[in-house]
């Protein structure tokens, strides 16, 4: 049998014997890599979707906007079209600022672009349902229509006049919903605004009927699409009363909706990765004696330290790479929804090579960090020592023992159990701190005041950016909580198994099963309490680095309640494994230890 086959067979046999550990590593790596991949893909996917929409709609390289109307503005815009760098143009056309109300009374600011009934070569909105503008009808931008819940055949009221919706379309000439306005009335600031198209005549009639503010726009195509910066610089003097928007700035504006998404997902993936390492490391540490004996056995029959390390690492690496593949598939399937919360863009986007590589590095790091210590120990321990190795020998801590002697029995047992494995207590504290940090972030996001996308900031049209952030933060927090739950169960069970002899001795000396259960629970609860105490300010501190300067902090009472709930949940979670461990027959345990 070749060494490769031997390694694979040994790794597979170990996986079969430890299915729960294998499943846990798989789950942890999958969620961590999926989240990181999503986080790292956002920018690329956003750009890719913009590019595809731009290609499909013959998006302009530049849009010139003037808050003024009349011959002077038209002339200034026309002069831009005469620039030798300009190869094509569309317009000038009117942009009318109005209010739109749907049949169910949902109102929103809207900009109405007056377009020809037959679109030209430049800025050709792509109709995704219905048909293009015709007299008396309007076409709604797809992201706007989705937010309104409007479709072809519905009627909407714009500036008091009813229009049938004859089509739904997308364009790359403006940013995604709700940033369609680009500039506000008379060149001022704009509010959250949707986009609609009408015929030129209808737009003119709309503007004049209510004396609505109008902006004049001209779309330009340049000889070199990447030279928009140089073109804007060259016309800075003559465009003082104009606003020039490049396609790059439009794409950049699209990213605004994802500004918080990236840190949520990337930092979330770090936290998930950390929890994955702590959980798997705790399991691996719980198996350290068995692993070392197994290594001793392999050495005794002629295996080299290199082969030992390869067997141990192969198992974890194989699982990590399977988890990585699963995570990448999940990320690939969910990335369009995560990267494009509005329906304003079309196209599909995949994962890039660097993103896949980064996620794979994370997966491998989780596997290696989780198993490095037991692997090194197994490699370095002499064969005979490895074959006779016994459980980890805790240190004598006279001060802590004396202190715990003053406490009631459950606390005495809990404190002494915690002291047996201080490293694990630190991991439990970190695990809890990580969870509380995420919960604090979630509460903080929910505490932020928010302008809705409806008329005058009404939340009848919800703030998509806020909703998207909260949704993703909730998903990341839920995943973190799920991993923390698994970790807590693992920590409790591993502690119980390692301390089973001592607990059995305590039982023979008169400790009740209830006291043993409480002691085991408290051994997790004491570090969890510390973790909750650290996690609350840590979460607030982390957010203060990332949040806007005017961000609102959630009420302290809510943060305190969250920390308390986490500790109580930990207590509840530890109760079952602790109770099960406390019920193991004493005589059986002591006999096993004697053997």
């Amino acid at each position: 049998m070749g060494p490769t086959v031997l390694v694979v067979r040994l790794a597979l046999a170990d996986m079969r014997r430890h299915k729960i550990q294998a499943a846990m590593l798989l789950l942890a790596v999958t969620v961590a890599t999926a989240t990181m991949t999503l986080g790292l893909s956002l920018r690329g996917v956003n750009d890719a979707l913009y590019e595809q929409t731009r290609a499909a709609t013959a998006g302009p390289d530049l849009v010139a906007l003037s808050g003024e109307t009349g011959p002077a503005a038209t002339s200034a815009l026309a002069s831009l079209a005469d620039d030798p760098e300009v190869t094509a143009h569309h317009g000038p056309y009117r942009i009318v600022y109005a209010d739109l109300t749907t049949r169910d009374s949902t109102s929103s600011p809207v900009v109405v672009h007056g377009f020809a009934e037959t679109p030209g070569a430049l800025n050709r909105p792509l109709v995704t349902s219905g048909h293009w503008v015709r007299p008396g009808g309007t076409v709604l931008e797809r992201g706007f229509a989705t937010a309104l819940g409007a479709g072809v055949g519905d009627h909407v009221t714009i500036a008091g006049r009813s229009y049938p919706v004859v089509g739904i379309a997308v364009t790359a000439a403006t940013s995604i919903y709700p940033w369609a306005a680009q500039i506000g009335p008379y060149g001022g600031p704009s509010d959250y605004t949707g986009l609609a198209w009408m015929t030129r005549a209808d737009a003119r009639a709309l503007a004049s009927s209510r004396d609505l503010p109008v902006t004049t726009a001209l779309d330009l195509k340049l000889r070199d699409p990447d030279a928009t910066g140089a073109f804007i610089d060259a016309h800075r003097a003559s465009t003082l009363r104009m606003n020039l928007r490049s396609w790059q700035s439009t794409a950049e504006q699209d990213m605004v909706i994802l500004r918080n998404t990236q840190p949520i997902l990337v930092i979330g993936s770090w936290l998930l990765g950390f929890l994955a390492v702590t959980g798997v490391a705790a399991l691996a540490a719980g198996r350290a004696v068995e692993q070392t004996r197994r290594a001793g056995l392999l050495k005794a029959v002629g295996a080299t330290p290199g082969l030992i390390a390869t067997v141990l690492l192969t198992e974890y690496l194989a699982l990590a790479l399977i988890g990585d593949a699963l995570g990448l598939v999940i990320a690939r399937l969910t990335v369009p929804a995560a990267a494009s919360p509005t329906a304003s863009r079309i196209g599909a986007a995949g994962l890039t090579g660097p993103t896949v590589a980064a996620a794979t590095v994370l997966a491998v790091a989780v596997a290696v960090l989780s198993t490095l210590r037991p692997t090194l120990r197994a490699m370095r321990t002499a064969t005979v020592t490895a074959l006779t190795t016994t459980a980890h020998q805790p240190r004598h801590r006279p001060r802590l023992t004396a202190l715990s002697a003053l406490l009631p029995t459950p606390l005495l047992l809990g404190l002494r159990l915690t002291a047996r494995r201080p490293g694990r207590a630190v991991l439990q504290a970190c695990s809890t701190a990580t969870t509380v940090t995420a919960i604090v972030a979630l509460l903080t996001l929910h505490a932020q005041p928010e302008r809705g996308y409806g008329l005058d900031g009404s939340s009848v049209l919800p703030n998509l950016r806020g909703e998207h952030d909260r949704g993703l933060m909730l998903a990341v927090t839920a995943l973190l909580i799920a991993l923390a739950v698994v970790n807590t169960l693992t920590f409790t069970w591993t502690t119980a198994m390692e301390a089973r002899a001592n607990m059995a001795i305590a039982r023979t000396l008169g400790a009740t099963p209830g006291q043993i259960t409480a002691g085991l629970s408290l051994a997790q609860l004491l570090p969890a309490l510390l973790g909750a105490a650290i996690g609350t300010p840590l979460g607030a501190g982390l957010l203060s680095l990332l949040a806007a300067p005017n961000a609102v902090e959630p009420p302290s009472s809510r943060l305190l309640a969250a920390a308390l709930a986490t500790v109580l949940a930990t207590a509840a979670l530890t109760a079952l494994p602790a109770r099960l461990a406390a019920r193991v027959p004493v005589a059986q345990t002591l006999s096993a230890e004697t053997a």
Partner: protein, 246 residues
């Protein structure tokens, strides 16, 4: 003998392990009364049910049938919690493998039962020091089990078993892991306990240990096959065994 006069009393005690064809009667219809102050030795071949009997007497295992009374109280019907309390008050265990808590010093091991029984740390420590002195280990009170010899560890275990001044001490092969010198030390300690009126039930393979008892019960296949009252005093027999006599 009245039930309350006996330190330990069992009637029709049965303990079976396994199911179906692999069912084994580890203890089979055993009757036994151990008066207060008596030292009882239980001997028999490996697997005859000696240790199981000891576990049943101490409430570490539940019988399949029969009754167990300790200090005048029936214990086979008690809850786990009540059994634990009974052990605190009435039973001390000494195991072949010592079963000391490795990260605690000798004194901390000995004071543990008293702390579990709710005594103050000062009371527990005073009692632990007294008991360690009694077993000749006062100078080793701060040593960890790993720093003690096998005999010293077993002496710590005996001191721990006596921490709550129990009615009965149950010892399972107490000299099984000890060399000759350490075994003789242990015999001296048991003799002292017997002289002080401590009820002792000792499961052993060691005839020297059995010879120190007031009474010897032999077991085979889960049943008592012999119950002998031993003549003379333990001190005299022990003295003879270890060469202290004239």
């Amino acid at each position: 003998m009245n039930v309350s006069d006996a330190a330990v009393r069992v009637r029709g005690l049965v303990k079976t392990h396994g199911r179906g064809q692999s069912r084994v009667r580890a203890v089979d219809e055993v009757d036994l009364e151990v008066p207060r102050g008596q030292t009882l030795a239980v001997m028999g071949p490996s697997g005859c049910g000696k240790s199981t009997l000891l576990h049943l007497l101490g409430g570490l295992e539940r019988p399949t049938g029969g009754e167990v009374w300790v200090a005048g109280r029936r214990i086979d019907t008690l809850s786990e919690r009540a059994l634990a309390r009974m052990r605190r008050r009435s039973v001390g265990f000494v195991f072949q493998a010592f079963h000391l808590v490795e990260e605690l010093s000798a004194a901390e091991n000995v004071e543990l039962p008293a702390l579990l029984a709710g005594r103050s740390r000062r009371q527990a420590r005073r009692r632990a020091n007294l008991l360690l002195e009694r077993v000749g280990l006062a100078a080793r009170a701060r040593h960890l089990p790993s720093q003690l010899s096998g005999g010293q560890r077993q002496r710590v275990a005996v001191a721990r078993a006596l921490a709550n001044d129990p009615l009965v001490v149950l010892a399972d092969e107490p000299t099984g892991n000890l060399d000759t010198t350490a075994s003789l030390d242990m015999l001296r300690i048991f003799e002292d306990l017997r002289a002080a009126g401590q009820t002792l039930i000792i499961v052993t393979h060691d005839e020297r240990v059995a010879a120190t008892a007031d009474r010897l019960v032999s077991m085979r296949d889960g049943m008592f096959v012999d119950d002998t009252r031993l003549a003379g005093t333990g001190a005299g027999r022990l003295g003879g065994l270890i060469g202290l006599e004239g």
